[in-house]
Symmetry: C2
Subunit: 299 residues, 2 copies
């Protein structure tokens, strides 16, 4: 077997996700034209589609059919996109740019940006429900997926992370709080993406648990390397200015552990992510490759 | 049979809903304390619980068990509450008071208010999914309810209504647009509440359709009488200042049809709502009584 071409895999998968997302919202028209333009603006603003890709990979690794998870893969990207739109709002992180493009409220205004986020979050649950309509997955499994995605996206997950993130700008926080924040803000939805893929793909409880654990460590490694890039990264590759986290008093891993300590922590989480995949065969190649990539990422 | 005591019925049902909602969110503690305080502040700010009560009534009228719909009844109130929190934001309607109390963002700040709304919307879908976990309703029916509630709450329903509402403050709109706005902004979720109750209660397609039609006309009658109260109402009973709609250039029914024309329109919609219930027996008494009440409401 030749070396796995991760770059090609990710770009092929991204294309599958983009194509599926294209069909999720109608072409803007009528009285809601501007709202749908705002929804599509952020949905197609150059996201890497990491959550859908992980969801698809988890489905395949347990022997499931990709078609089964596509609606949920789309839903995960909608939820991720809604969270970015709301996080960027003036009352929140007050960001003018994301991935080198103006943020949603800078283009469409705050009211439309809030509603576009609300629309993406709402519609996501229709797509999850749709996963039960092709007759390949039992509705029971779909309802379980609704529950775990709510837990990951709501006040027990992503929203809790954002609450802590906002508070941490104004007060001193320790490593445990930073970790708690990342596990909730980023890790929860990443883990849920893998869990959902495994459940819909028909995985055993053990397999679902292993993939959830992989997601947990991948999420932390992802965040630590993200913080490292903010210290060391190239503005051209990243689409944001290095040092911007420090300038806003965001508590990052390098600030708490130093650059060397952060690199070490990232390496440990990648190893634990790989350990979690130990029981899977070569079909877990893409997931292993994604984890290893975090240690050499440049953007 | 004595005359049906609507006031007593509504207050008993409100108590059932309040008790069920009490258990939906944990007592605020930990790092998310403030967020959960904000969620509970608006969830228990004196709402009439109309959507849950209609959902429960629709379930009973088709012979279903109240326990079956309680999680969905709670979810409908969460979605309604999220929409009020976001609508009140400075970027939207910029309201300082609702039902005589400070709005969420005036107490907790904009960031927390946005996240509290997001949390309520997200969590609502967990409660809907839970309706499938007691073994009394088939998961297929629950997934259908997810789909119809998304349609009513999202960009094809409530959010579309809010978009038009915001736009109508700055431009001239006709009666058809005002009607379109209300059908989406208020009517869609009211109808969905009745539809969901009928589906979960095991109603036939014909019964589901009848209750949906009742909800459509009830929603319009409700909105027209709401507009009439803004012209004629008593500030003490209403908790908001009469004339406030006109002052903000909101296009109301009295502004478009006159007071007499609006009263006539409300009466017609109440009659059509009652017509939609023609095939039901006395068990539809509460729903008939709610519709008739709109013609004499003082708040």
């Amino acid at each position: 077997m030749g070396e796995f071409d991760l770059k090609r895999y990710l770009s092929e998968r991204k294309l599958l996700v983009d194509t599926a997302l294209e069909e999720c919202f109608p072409v803007p028209a009528g009285l809601e034209k501007r709202l749908l333009e705002a929804v599509r603006y952020s949905l197609f603003a150059g996201g890497k589609r990491l959550r859908p890709i992980l969801c698809m990979a988890a489905c395949e690794v347990v022997g499931g059919d990709l078609k089964t998870v596509m609606p949920v893969a789309c839903a995960l990207e909608m939820i991720h996109t809604y969270s970015l739109i709301h996080d960027d709002l003036p009352a929140m992180d007050n960001d003018d740019y994301r991935r080198g493009k103006l943020t949603n409220h800078k283009v469409f205004g705050e009211a439309t940006a809030i509603l576009a986020g609300d629309a993406l979050l709402t519609e996501a649950f229709d797509f999850i429900a749709k996963a039960g309509s092709n007759g390949k997955v039992s509705p029971d499994r779909v309802l379980r997926v609704v529950g775990l995605i709510v837990k990951a996206a709501g006040y027990r997950g992503m929203i809790a992370g954002q609450v802590i993130d906002l508070e941490s700008e104004t007060r001193s926080v320790d490593l445990a709080t930073v970790e708690y924040m990342h596990i909730h803000k980023t890790g929860a939805l990443l883990s849920a993406s893998l869990e959902a893929g495994a459940i819909l793909g028909g995985g055993s409880e053990e397999q679902v648990g292993s993939l959830q654990r992989y997601g947990h460590h991948l999420g932390l490694a992802f965040q630590i390397t993200d913080d490292l890039l903010d210290v060391e990264g190239d503005v051209q590759l990243m689409g944001k200015t290095p040092g911007s986290d420090a300038a806003r008093n965001k508590k990052t891993y390098p600030a708490l552990l130093g650059v060397t300590g952060s690199r070490e922590a990232a390496r440990e989480h990648v190893e634990q992510a790989l350990d979690a995949l130990a029981s899977f065969d070569d079909s877990a190649g893409p997931l292993r490759s994604v984890a290893r990539y975090l240690l050499v990422r440049k953007a």
